[in-house]
């Protein structure tokens, strides 16, 4: 009985164990990474819960309240069946050329921008990883064909490929995702092929094969788990690229079409009013910039701590981790 109690006391509390984990400590001790992660949390949260987070209807036009500056208030008049309703509104980020609340539009626009970024990565990574594993695991002619195709696609500029696809298919949300599937799978393919090439020669894969595991089982149970870290890192760095590309395409008029909205489209619509209403250009641009920056900083931190040659520089600062004997 007493023995049990002692064992329990010696076993660290799971929450303390997570807290003392070298990675978590390195994360908490790195203010830049911490701030980027918190920012992403807020932005993604606002996008997911847009109907709750947005103070007003993003489509509600108030023509008398056009181009109200940030931090102003105005009387919004809504005509309903029961008569006109007057409402005092506070515009944190001002209004646009149709008197729509810019903060609400930013939140709803972020929904599209961020989902394009994430979905684009998802689709291109699935294609890339599938082809990369096929090439690396089965080698032979298939490997040659896939890797030559990668070379060809790598040598075509992204924007050119994107414009060609959208020129032929026409602009829409789905077609932008197709653009990313066509134009961004190559890096995922290269990375996963590289990992598979080094893994397939290792003893644990031989052992699995020796006990009669099928190719599917070897790939699914032994190779894929080893791919997760490099792929997540690559994905974190690809999301901002996609968000920037989407905003560029929407700005040029080949991306998201009204009445849908994304940050890039907001910029493109605000461009004509840049002289009279600076915030219609400054606000969405800042949103794109900060989101892309946070993804990039977070991704590069992930890359650094998962790289055995670099990680000590990031982990050594944590004294608690050293005392706990991890890291």
């Amino acid at each position: 009985m007493q023995n049990d109690v002692i064992t329990l006391e010696q076993r660290p509390n799971p929450i303390v164990a997570i807290w003392r984990n070298a990675l978590v400590q390195a994360f908490l001790n790195d203010p830049i990474t911490l701030i980027s992660a918190l920012f992403l949390f807020v932005i993604v949260g606002a996008a997911v819960f847009a109907p709750v987070a947005a103070p007003y209807d993003p489509q509600n036009q108030q023509l008398r309240l056009r181009h109200q500056g940030p931090l102003t208030t105005g009387e919004a008049v809504t005509r309903a069946a029961s008569g006109t309703v007057e409402e005092n509104r506070f515009f944190l980020l001002g209004t646009d050329h149709l008197g729509r609340d810019y903060l609400s539009r930013l939140i709803y626009g972020g929904r599209i921008s961020i989902s394009v970024g994430l979905l684009g990565v998802l689709v291109s990574s699935v294609i890339g990883v599938f082809l990369g594993i096929t090439a690396g695991y089965y080698r032979g002619v298939l490997d040659d064909v896939i890797m030559r195709t990668v070379d060809i696609f790598m040598s075509v500029p992204l924007l050119l490929l994107a414009l060609m696809v959208l020129f032929i298919l026409g602009p829409s949300f789905t077609n932008i995702i197709i653009v990313f599937a066509v134009a961004r799978w190559m890096l995922f393919c290269r990375v996963s092929r590289g990992v598979v090439l080094s893994l397939r020669e290792q003893a644990f894969v031989d052992a699995a094969r020796a006990i009669g595991a099928s190719d599917g089982r070897i790939i699914g149970r032994h190779i894929l788990p080893n791919l997760i870290t490099p792929l997540l890192t690559l994905a974190a760095l690809e999301v901002p690229r996609n968000i920037l590309t989407e905003s560029t395409l929407s700005f040029l008029g080949f991306g998201i079409q009204p009445p849908e909205s994304s940050w890039g489209l907001m910029l493109s619509q605000g461009r004509d009013y840049i002289v009279t209403a600076w915030w219609v250009v400054v606000v969405p641009g800042t949103a794109i910039f900060l989101t892309a920056l946070s993804f990039n900083l977070f991704g590069v931190w992930m890359r650094a701590v998962s790289d055995p040659l670099q990680r000590w520089r990031w982990l050594k600062a944590t004294k608690e981790a050293k005392d706990a004997g991890v890291g």
């Binding site: 830049i32 070379d151 060809i152 040598s155 075509v156 500029p157 924007l159 050119l160 414009l163 060609m164 696809v165 020129f167 032929i168 298919l169 901002p240 920037l244 905003s247 560029t248 700005f251 040029l252 008029g253 080949f254 890039g264 910029l267 461009r271 840049i274 002289v275 600076w278 250009v281 400054v282 641009g285 794109i288 910039f289 900060l290 892309a292 920056l293 990039n296 900083l297 590069v300 040659l309 670099q310 520089r313 990031w314």
Partner: protein, 309 residues
């Protein structure tokens, strides 16, 4: 070496030809060229006339062969909108794109010393500053930076013209400053990052320890050995960037009204001007291939261990 060159050029031609073939098939099989050229509300007669005029009622394989024959001769047909040879329009615009690209590219080279500075002390003060700055500049949407520059420099301070083009001669330089300022930070940031990471990787290698232990000065190690070995990755990236400018400056060209290839392509797409679109894509792809080829040749000079036999 000669055999390698022949193979390498053959490879490039194959890629450009393959890309153009894909474009042709995408336009003709996935879509309908007449639909891409005609207005949305064009009448059936106009559509038939267009089909007749461009020989689009001939079988696909004949048109396909014709398409390559025209490309080989450098004949892209006349622009539908401007009624002049698409080739002449390209030849007209190419120097503008190239000039802007080279100016921005050269400014971007200042990222290399910044990256070297950062690599001397990884995770040190300078490194952190360079790191954040370089990630900041690669996260800025280029077109937004361009708009902000117009807002600040042209509208608020009234220093430079908002947009326009007055030739590449002495009276045109004022128009080039803002576009170059919008394009170069991205390249500078990427150069700093790649220089930093390859230098750090190189410094960790055995030969650096050897050089240090025989008493070589740190500066001599960094510039004489490490930088030279790191230069392969840097040159690759710089080649990619110059190639990217052939197309990547599109948005900046549009915002500043800079008459380059990128603007020609976008205007062509908007005006449904198929010959202009095809020829712009062809020329951009060609330029990218030529630059990649040049980078490959520079490798042999930088690293004698690479042999092309």
């Amino acid at each position: 070496m000669r055999n390698y060159m022949i193979r390498r050029i053959g490879h490039s031609i194959f890629i450009v030809a393959g890309l153009m073939g894909l474009l042709f098939l995408a336009i003709n099989v996935l879509g309908d060229p007449v639909e891409l050229m005609a207005d949305e509300d064009a009448s059936q007669e106009t559509i038939d006339a267009l089909r007749e005029k461009f020989g689009l009622n001939r079988p696909l394989h004949i048109r396909f062969a014709d398409f390559y024959w025209d490309l080989a001769r450098g004949d892209f047909g006349k622009s539908l909108r401007h009624r002049i040879d698409a080739r002449d329009m390209i030849v007209d615009r190419l120097p503008n794109t190239a000039a802007l690209a080279i100016v921005a590219w050269v400014i971007g080279m200042f990222g290399i010393p910044l990256g070297m500075l950062a690599a001397r002390r990884p995770r040190g003060f300078v490194d952190r500053i360079v790191n954040i700055l370089s990630f900041a500049v690669i996260s800025i949407p280029q077109f937004w930076l361009a708009l902000m520059l117009i807002l600040l420099v042209s509208v608020q301070l009234d220093l430079l013209p908002t947009s326009g083009f007055k030739g590449l001669g002495p009276e045109g330089w004022k128009y080039m400053i803002l576009p170059a300022m919008a394009l170069s930070p991205l390249v500078m940031g990427r150069n700093a990052q790649i220089t930093r990471s390859t230098m750090i990787e190189e410094i960790a290698k055995q030969y650096v320890a050897t050089a240090r232990s025989k008493g070589l000065a740190e500066t001599a190690i960094l510039y004489g050995h490490v930088l030279k070995n790191a230069s392969i990755s840097i040159v690759t990236l710089m080649g990619d960037e110059l190639a990217g400018f052939m197309n990547g400056s599109t948005v900046v060209e549009i915002i500043f009204g800079w008459p380059g290839i990128g603007k020609l392509l976008i205007d062509g797409i908007n005006a449904r001007d198929l010959p202009v679109v095809t020829s712009s894509v062809f020329v951009i792809a060609l330029m990218v291939m030529v630059i990649n080829l040049a980078v490959d040749l520079i490798y042999t000079w930088l690293d004698p261990r690479i042999s092309y036999s």
